[in-house]
Symmetry: C2
Subunit: 306 residues, 2 copies
């Protein structure tokens, strides 16, 4: 069984600190460090790692500990909202794991983060304790500066675990479980920001667009392009190739071409297979038409028989 | 280490015989039976299996033995050319294997097929002993009926191993080593066979088209469509998405659309990844951007260290 964990840290500039956090995670036996990306404007780092149940919990706790040692939110500035040094801590099911199991792992990690480190925890997504805490943006509204005051006066702002005060420098962790998310951007050959915003609005789920799509129109000033920046939160319902076709169509209707698209981080193999099968118009194509997948299936069947 | 073996048998109609041949192969410990396809007009069956060195040799020898027991070429009729009951026996490198190793395996299998079964062997492709035996069509010219006479009178027609006569009912085996081949067809929304032939000629390597592409224009009479039927013999040089784009372009220039494409058998994962990366215009995309590939790489590194 394999679980993915994608902690977001409120540090995207100081390489020594980011390296130290990464090393704290990768030192855990059984942890596979898959990816790391930092953004200086956001002043934020996202680390992707995977492992079995014990490994991902241990990695998450050590990450929270190291981040709390190195990051003081009172000194932190960046364009991305945050409430914690380790800000968001999602657990994601990969092979043989379920979202329910991942919600349970997030609660186990949270218990240790509060008991051992004294950092309170909010639960979101599949681990949320209340409907108004399902969405990350709802939990994080007002950020560290507001939330550390609000918890003292408003019952409804209390952390799900620990508190009542936030940690004075490390804030709070927002832990939970969710499906795999694909961070996917499409860059357009124009500097017309209004077009990117128009397309983002047309495709985002919240304004009646494609299910599971969050989208923003952004300028890429150094390149003279604009970007439709997206999170695909349910790629099996709305995969990248569907978004790509729709953005291409909407841009073409205004006479604009797609320059390129970008993947931020990693994408699941299934999304790659869906794109190839669709874009090559392959009839009767499925995952088992791929040599390596067929071999893996047969080997895992042989294992489970013997 | 994993080697693929794709024997072609001169039987595509009698299910009991085809099943018996398949069972002879799959009974070998360590053999993974990946795919099987039969065509009654061709009167021919292609079985794809994989395994380690010993397993694929054993599978190949048992396949040759069972085919010789069940198939009499004197009784065999079909539209596809053939010289043997087990007609063609290619070994293909998958994980950790080389084409040179596969050529060597084909010689080891051939030695057993001649010594134990009395069936002579011609070597082709990477195992060929002479330039005029590299291409399969050159070795097979004239088929069983001509070759069994020719070997008696022409030195140049002698088998590479065994002989001088062919086996009276099982003919000869053509063994060798080659890269993975993708059998890929594109169906056009027209009954205009001349268009399919025109496109096939434009894209095939032998008439100056795309490298590694063999192509024919064929009618699909029951569907009222025509097909560009292809073998891609070097998919890393000319992958399916390049062929798809070129066939689409050539068809569109005559006002015809692509109905769909078809994969015959299996395709390697790398071709799927190349197609998705290209067709989504993904910048900086490679195999390690896929979660499962990254995990496999890390796990195999961990294995090789410990």
């Amino acid at each position: 069984m394999l679980i993915e964990c994608v902690p977001n840290f409120s540090e995207g500039r100081n390489l020594a600190r980011i390296d130290a956090i990464e090393q704290a995670i990768s030192a855990v036996p059984g942890v596979l460090l898959l990816h790391r990306t930092s953004d200086p404007d956001h002043n934020r780092t996202v680390i992707t790692f995977a492992g079995g149940r014990e490994a991902v919990i241990e990695g998450a706790v050590r990450a929270a500990d190291k981040a709390a040692q190195l990051i003081d939110l009172n000194q932190h500035r960046g364009v991305h909202p945050r409430v914690g040094a380790l800000d968001v801590l999602p657990f994601i099911p990969l092979e043989g794991a379920t979202i329910e199991l991942c919600a349970d792992l997030s609660r186990q990690a949270a218990a240790r983060i509060w008991n051992e480190l004294g950092i309170p925890v909010y639960f979101y997504q599949a681990a949320a304790s209340r409907p108004d805490r399902v969405q990350l943006e709802d939990v994080r509204r007002g950020q560290f500066e507001y939330l550390r005051e609000a918890v003292l006066f408003e019952e409804s702002k209390q952390p799900d675990l620990g508190g009542p005060s936030l940690h004075p420098t490390a804030g709070a962790v927002i832990a939970g479980a969710r499906k795999i998310l694909i961070a996917y951007n499409i860059n357009l050959k124009t500097a017309d920001l209004e077009l990117a915003k128009f397309i983002a609005k047309r495709i985002r789920a919240s304004s009646g667009g494609l299910p599971g799509v969050k989208a923003l129109g952004l300028p890429l000033e150094t390149r003279g392009l604009v970007q439709v920046s997206m999170n695909l939160t349910d790629f099996e319902v709305t995969p990248p190739h569907v978004v790509y076709a729709e953005v291409t169509r909407l841009a073409a209707s205004r006479g604009v071409q797609v320059a390129e698209s970008e993947l931020i981080g990693l994408m699941p193999r299934r999304a790659v297979e869906m794109a190839a099968g669709h874009l090559l118009k392959l009839s009767n194509f499925d995952s088992q038409c791929i040599i390596e997948n067929r071999i893996q299936t047969l080997l895992s069947q042989a294992h489970s028989v013997s």
